[in-house]
Symmetry: D2
Subunit: 287 residues, 4 copies
């Protein structure tokens, strides 16, 4: 299946009358056929959000000029924060992983079966155990041994590597290291983590042990963009599963793995579709 | 809480370029502030659906002229099927009920607590047992005794009553009579039924008995608009609940009641928000 | 439908070999027909839990002696904590409520339709607004006006009333007052609260506002036994519903009401079936 | 992690007084420590079901004699249908697969990470495309080319192979061939299929297309034991996911894949734990 030749605009700005009319008129007058349009107004703050996807075939602004034309004609006058994406460019995704394999394997099997239109130029790990599976799938594997003294140095090397590989966004597929603020700020809203609890409950370490101890009847998993505030970034996707008194901590871990991998993969899908916008530590997720 | 002074347009027509731009420009040039806009294109059929809600305050077309202006300027040239609603007019809802009380009580408690902005001019039943509760809530109760011979006559009387009471739409809150096609066609997409199964499984009678017999692990409820085809109208809302081998048919009935009343009430909410559009026996439900 | 003539034993004690054999043999030798048996061993603590229900018809120990015989023959030698219940005795349930009506109405409609085999000798409130609905259902209503100075006094009066009315257990149906430890300790594991969040997330006040602010994608409700530790008692039942960025705080409150009433009513059902055992601030809930 | 040294009895027979007492007494008098006991009485038919798991360490009947002793002392007198399993024996599972890879990959990643205690002596397919992944995981791959003329012959060869490999049970991981009755009857309640709909809705071919056409709001997946009656065998596990009008058939297929693999894997887990009993085309699933 070939890649579609569409453009996608993600916009947010202060709300005012005529925004939708202005933007859709701009696309119409340049002969753009809108495939999908979603908008949302966050009334409490007066912020307007929009995602619009249109066909480039027949659109009379050359692809390489769309950015500058839209900026000049529309974005600048409304003081928009905005992104422009083209669907014919495969995003480059790096996977960070520690020992747990379930999210990694789930991602790889989707990649291999062509479910996602991405490139994976690197699997990066603080352990070497997943090197073999990376090789099997033909994905370069980078092992960075970490100890309590070399963290800054390792992160520097990782960031250099990510730049060289032109990585667009990063998946923390149960990566058990805390990233520094410098690292995080280099990839704003472009690092996706999976946390094994229904945040904000049980943020931090050992959530299944704490869920068991508390006697909750439902456990969850949460995928979110990583911010400097641990486990507190904007939430992309959550889901839950019922448990009972019969379930040991090991059962919670086993059931949770299925949640984690599905929730993380849904979040990646949403990100890839350019359907997640972030404002004030919350997301607008267009379906 | 006062009623909002908004207008809502529901539209569907053949898809073509410029529809959103044209409609939003129309609202903008008449100084309408869009509160909410949703659109959907059903690609397989090339049909465009849209719901747009805007503030009437400041809108420079007088309320009583909006219909004719929109028709002339927009709807007629695009051959739209469309509806115009005003949020300051409370819809008038009639409830049809037989013996089961759970959906009726749930509706009445919502009405009484002000959750919905509606008027309920009639509870209509083929039994008299709910007359007392209707009286308690101050709602006129109409008892139509039915037997195998008087069905046509009763329906005629009911339709006369509904007309006199200026009823806008009808809820079948576990009403165990099958309506005639004449009756149904008088209220197209304005009769909402709740069926006690996850349609299309177990359409028809005794769905819980059949679910138990089949040994399913999940039961459901389905709310849909009534069409001439029994239990086959366009689905508005569905939900499910897990069951186990421990559950008897009586347990399914008990668990199912909670599903039925919640699913029906969500469907009513969706209808009241004017967020359900129907085309080709399927619904577009804007969230 | 008449009440069944069954007995139910709820037991927990240190686990050891032969417990099930001993108990079931005791019932068998006295000609008891077991209707339902559930057991659970909490391995981490070595605690055995059991619920067994049997028919009293044909059982050769007179009903009034079962307690003493079981105590002497079985319970004392195994140092059991245990309860004996008879299904032909309707439990007496008091409802505490403040202003919100959805849980109260839901309980009353179930009671009225005969879903539960209970008596409701009192609705108790710090407001008078629900007096009318109590009257309609023929349930005595007690209004205790509360201010910051009379709390101890009011609680004393309430406890006296509950004793006079021989109340077995209490439902806090969105009762917005914090009970004193003295009150709580008079009804251990017999006060059921509904909290409008997915505990332990958003314990305390205004959970929907906090959920909205945090940008979660799922909200929940939790029913638990009340302990001295606010919103931290043993959890009986939880459920959740998906939300989106489109939902305002008001939408969360509306959606949450449906969760709250269903979750609370399921917890009451579980309690009435004598299927909830409590140990170390957690519940064993037999299905 | 070593395998546990437990025995598991699965029993069903006509209900009568004293069954639990007799069985648990038998285990107790032979010094067996019960780890887990579940029972269920299907009242409408008067059938008793039981699963009991106990430690073999200290049990004073030699492992190789348990079958004959239990048969003589208990099973024969109560005319039980029963099975005896030992947890230290890894079941041997064959996977049948056609082109779709998601269920296969999910199973393999669980197997590889040690989630299940099984052996997989064969992946069998009517296509060769999964040979490479089988090789990667070191699992023998058998390709049986099928056409409309050689079906009987291929099945014969497959059955011979399964016998040679001492296969205990079979997973149809989206295997798109219909098995003959002879094949099915050789593995009663030991062939597990995943169907990509919420059965009994949309049995047969192309369920996602039919779900889309019908406009349902929820899709599901069903894992069941295979019987001669297509898609109508006893259901082990079902789950569902919400969809909307926005979802194309392709979206349903994509969302459904996640359901299918999770539901199938849960069913396999249940089967491996010996927690599924079958009677009258329905299952008792002990949690």
């Amino acid at each position: 299946m070939g890649l579609k030749n569409h453009a996608i605009l993600l916009i947010h700005c202060n709300d005012r009358k005529g925004l939708i009319s202005t933007i859709t008129h701009f696309l119409f007058e340049h002969n753009g056929n809108i495939i999908d349009l979603d908008e949302h107004v966050e009334k409490s703050e007066g912020i307007f959000f929009m995602r619009v996807e249109w066909e480039l075939e027949g659109f009379d602004i050359p692809k390489e000029n769309i950015h500058s034309v839209f900026d000049e004609k529309i974005a600048s006058q409304f003081e928009m924060e905005w992104q422009l994406h083209f669907t014919d460019k495969k995003p480059r995704m790096a996977i960070f992983v520690s020992k747990a394999s379930h999210c990694l394997y789930d991602i790889l099997s989707r990649h291999y079966s062509g479910e996602w239109q991405i490139e994976i130029p690197a699997i990066i790990s603080n352990h070497s155990i997943h090197e073999e599976v990376a090789n099997r799938y033909g994905i370069p594997f980078y092992h960075f041994e970490m100890n309590k003294d070399n963290k800054a140095e390792v992160e520097m090397a990782q960031m250099t590597l990510l730049t060289e590989l032109r990585v667009d966004f990063i998946i923390l597929a149960r990566y058990m290291q805390i990233l520094s603020n410098d690292f995080i700020s280099a990839y704003p809203n472009r690092i996706i983590n999976i946390h094994h609890s229904f945040l904000p409950a049980f943020a931090g370490a050992k959530p299944y042990h704490r869920a068991h101890e508390r006697g909750v009847k439902i456990i969850g998993a949460t995928s979110h963009y990583v911010t400097a505030d641990l486990d507190a970034g904007p939430i992309i996707e959550q889901d839950v599963v019922k448990i009972s008194h019969k379930n040991t901590v090991e059962d919670l871990i086993r059931k949770g793995k299925d949640l984690e991998k599905i929730v993380l993969s849904r979040a990646i899908w949403t990100h890839l579709q350019r359907k997640a916008l972030v404002h004030n530590n919350r997301t607008v997720i267009f379906e």
